[in-house]
């Protein structure tokens, strides 16, 4: 079961070396509790994508410490050998565009993840079906991604992020292509699922219409983060 959230301590990332070195992250501290959804906001080039990639174990930080789901995964170096398995089992991704696999139907797009983790087909499909019920896309379970609306696609993408019941969800501008109503619906779903599954969720966003929904917001500028209390208004 998911739990124990995200803890980042003094995380830094430097690209290049010498005179051309760029510090994308400068001793970033961040904490997200299980069941909490926080916003990560910053202008382009501020380091938010770098932070997301470091949290997603697709780039290696330069220094610091990261704890996901109660397990220290980075402390000056990776403590986990199989980063692929780490991403599969502990991190759920939701992207700006849904990036569903176009040649798999909705169920298979979601059930593929647990199957990759070695979970039997029937159980993987069962998990997907449960999420479809919760996300109100059960009636589209056999459709191909190209047959879905933008909102439906994004809900399926959220189901894919949640299906392995990871302790952490990293959402990269998940509402960018959606109108206000659908954007708020997506955030509502993320909040509901986070609470239900005790998942810590970081939502990177520029989207003004969803910023008021966060109770806590991390601002990032020039690789430095600072925390701010949000309105936490979710109609």
């Amino acid at each position: 079961m998911a739990g124990k959230g995200i803890l980042i301590e003094g995380l830094s990332k430097r690209y290049g070396s010498g005179d051309t070195a760029v510090d994308a992250l400068k001793k970033v501290d961040m904490q997200v509790a299980p069941g909490e959804v926080v916003g990560l906001i910053g202008p382009s080039g501020s380091g938010k994508t770098t932070l997301l990639k470091a949290l997603g174990a697709v780039i290696e930080p330069t220094s610091g410490r990261m704890t996901l789901g109660g397990e220290v995964i980075y402390d000056g170096g990776w403590l986990i050998k199989d980063l692929r398995a780490l991403r599969r089992d502990k991190i759920g991704f939701v992207f700006q565009a849904p990036y569903l696999i176009p040649f798999l139907n909705v169920t298979d797009n979601v059930a593929l993840l647990p199957m990759l983790a070695g979970i039997p087909n029937a159980e993987a499909r069962q998990r997907a079906a449960e999420l479809f019920q919760a996300l109100d896309v059960a009636h589209r379970a056999k459709a191909m991604p190209s047959q879905l609306s933008g909102g439906e696609q994004q809900r399926v993408a959220i189901a894919r992020g949640l299906v392995n019941r990871p302790p952490v969800i990293l959402a990269d501008e998940p509402t960018a292509p959606l109108d206000s109503e659908r954007a708020l619906a997506v955030i509502r779903i993320l909040n509901d699922m986070a609470r239900k599954l005790e998942t810590a969720v970081i939502v990177v966003t520029h989207d003004e219409k969803i910023i008021p929904t966060f109770k806590r917001i991390y601002h990032i500028r020039d690789g430095v983060t600072y925390e701010e209390a949000g309105e936490g208004v979710l109609a």
């Binding site: 938010k48 697709v58 692929r84 700006q96 990036y99 696999i101 176009p102 593929l112 894919r160």
Partner: protein, 401 residues
């Protein structure tokens, strides 16, 4: 586990099927080329089988009668006939030429056979229509591939022949249909000159004081007569009695008759190893080129298809798909493309290409099995470039930024 390759193929089946059909036509040509080679080897073996001979007696130090010209006296067979272990012997002539039918020429191997009965070496072993040659002159038995019909009149040199029988799969090693005529007619056809040439030769002989000497009556006539006849044949075919070893009898003929003798194995080696060797090498080169072209096409298609899925591959890698799963997806797609191509190729080679080729195309099941294995190997190798491209994809590309 979900078959990613299978789902992708089902999703974009039109692309796969049409690409597979294009590849299939190329594979069809490749299979046909292999079939042509097999056909040539089979033609050579059929020529030897149908001759009914165990030994071929030819001019000394030649590879006759098929691979080189060979001339031996037409009475040499008598001496061979009396040797121990020899059952039957027969003179034979072979002459590849244009046989005229009406206004059209047909390239054929005109074969002169001795009078005898069915089973005589050199005779067509079976007919599909008509009868064997029974008269001493101007009758012919033709292979059905020549297009000649029973009762039809054909012209060989200056003489006309009536087709009295038809046979099947009687062809030269080049695939030319055989036309059997009586030996004497064939000897004449090999030697026959036009009237002007005969007149000129006679005049030159008469003007030669060595042949037209006063006081030697009959010398000039005798010389001219010898110039007008052909006492040669190309080979003597020998059938041996059961229980005798061909090599021993061959050795005996070599020693006593001072002629060259080939056994069945040696003649097969000459035909397959020497006569059609150049053609075989040529076909081999074509097969290599076609294989390379096929590999390049498969590699290009699979690489293009993979590049079209870079974002999906990045997502798959980000969500934890193993490299080997992605590599297997690409390899399976390449193999599926090859399989579609092979099925189309096999069908097109069998039903479309083989029947219209002028040469005999022999598509052997084992060649198809080997061809399929080669297609699979080519497809696997061709997918390597695409796999390398896929494995280089950074999962971070899915996140963007």
């Amino acid at each position: 586990m979900i078959s990613l390759a299978g789902r992708d193929i089902m999703h974009s089946w039109g692309k796969f099927v049409f690409t597979g059909m294009g590849l299939g036509l190329l594979i069809g040509v490749t299979l046909s080329m292999a079939g042509i080679y097999r056909g040539m080897v089979d033609d050579a073996k059929v020529l030897l089988d149908n001759s009914g001979a165990d030994l071929w007696v030819v001019q000394r130090n030649t590879l006759g009668p098929y691979a080189e010209s060979s001339s031996i006296y037409d009475d040499a067979w008598r001496g061979i006939r009396g040797m121990p272990g020899v059952a039957r012997v027969a003179n034979i002539t072979y002459l590849t030429m244009q046989v005229r039918r009406g206004e059209r020429d047909v390239r054929a191997m005109v074969t002169g056979i001795m009078p005898g009965r069915p089973g005589t070496p050199g005779w067509p072993p079976y007919l599909v229509a008509g009868r064997q040659i029974t008269r001493g002159h101007y009758e012919a038995v033709a292979d059905i591939a020549s297009g000649f019909k029973l009762g039809e009149r054909i012209r060989v040199r200056r003489n006309h022949y009536t087709v009295v029988g038809l046979t099947r799969r009687m062809v030269s090693s080049n695939g030319d249909p055989m036309v059997f005529i009586p030996l004497k007619d064939a000897q004449e056809a090999q030697f026959l000159k036009d009237n002007d040439a005969i007149r000129q030769q006679r005049r030159r002989t008469a003007e030669n004081p060595a042949f037209n000497r006063p006081g030697v009556p009959g010398l000039l006539e005798a010389v001219i007569a010898s110039q007008s006849t052909n006492p040669y044949v190309n080979a003597v075919l020998v059938q041996i009695e059961p229980g005798h070893r061909p090599e021993r009898i061959a050795e005996s003929i070599r020693r006593w008759k001072r002629l060259t003798v080939y056994t069945r194995e040696q003649m097969e080696e000459i035909l397959v190893g020497k006569l059609i060797a150049t053609s075989a090498r040529q076909i081999g080169m074509f097969l290599v080129i076609l294989s390379i072209v096929s590999a390049a096409i498969v590699a290009f298609i699979i690489y293009t298809l993979t590049l079209g899925k870079i974002r999906e591959i990045a997502v798959l890698k980000l969500i934890g798909t193993r490299n080997r799963t992605i590599a297997a997806m690409i390899t399976q797609q390449a193999i599926a493309l090859g399989a579609i191509g092979f099925v189309v190729g096999k069908i097109s080679a069998t039903l479309l290409m083989a029947p219209i080729f002028p040469k005999y195309v022999l598509l052997e099941p084992m060649d198809s099995v080997k061809g399929f294995a080669a297609v699979v190997v080519i497809c696997v190798l061709s997918s390597i470039i695409a796999i390398r491209a896929a494995l280089k994809v950074d999962p971070a590309e899915a996140i963007g930024g």
